[in-house]
């Protein structure tokens, strides 16, 4: 499984755009990039997933360059409620069951 590296923590003010970059140099051809969000005292929840280029949903956007060795989670105009830990995972596309390895994530603190 490809190892991921992301910043330990980030700070932002409310209303700003936040970009969290994840490095996954050893990503395999059939791997997808997946991001989860975890609020205090809750289990993580899936927010977005992509294979290449750009994916957008109601929560976030995910940018993946052509070489796929990194990805950037973009949160537009964050609010206090976006304070959470964000995890980047690399997941095989299909077939064999795979363990989901979360790591330490990026702790985002949003303030007024």
């Amino acid at each position: 499984l490809a190892k991921t590296t992301q910043p330990i923590s980030m700070d932002s003010y409310e209303g700003q755009e936040v970009n969290i970059t994840c490095s996954h140099n050893n990503i395999a051809t059939n791997d997808y990039i997946t991001w989860y969000q975890q609020f205090p005292s809750q289990g993580p929840r899936f927010i977005i997933q992509g294979y290449k280029t750009k994916v957008t949903n109601e929560v976030a956007s995910l940018f993946i360059p052509a070489d796929r060795k990194s990805s950037t989670l973009s949160l537009p105009r964050v609010s206090l409620s976006d304070t959470a830990v964000y995890y980047c995972l690399v997941v095989p596309r299909s077939g064999t069951a795979s363990k989901l390895t979360f790591g330490t994530g990026t702790r985002l603190q949003v303030t007024l």
């Binding site: 997808y32 997946t34 989860y36 005292s41 809750q42 289990g43 993580p44 929840r45 899936f46 997933q49 995890y87 997941v91 095989p92 596309r93 299909s94 077939g95 064999t96 069951a97 795979s98 363990k99 989901l100 390895t101 979360f102 790591g103 330490t104 994530g105």
Partner: protein, 113 residues
Amino acid sequence: DVKVTQSSRYLVKRTGEKVFLECVQDMDHENMFWYRQDPGLGLRLIYFSYDVKMKEKGDIPEGYSVSREKKERFSLILESASTNQTSMYLCASSPLAGVTEAFFGQGTRLTVV
């Protein structure tokens, strides 16, 4: 709504006790996972299972075992609880195919005294 239910939100056990943490999912998912979460260490995978009676070790299986007798239920067992197993335990489930989201339970905060 997908639901992953962990049997207890908080649990206090004594050192040396045998502890069972239960997890039930209602979405007919093949994969189930047990993690522990400690400050500064993120989520660490203990065991996962991709089918009934099948199990695979995660990154930190020592001191734990698991049981999956039915598809919807995945149990984590601490054979002889120790204080260093005090932690938040999280269960998750997902369909077999890798590129699908995993759903988590609310967690069990276990304290071993």
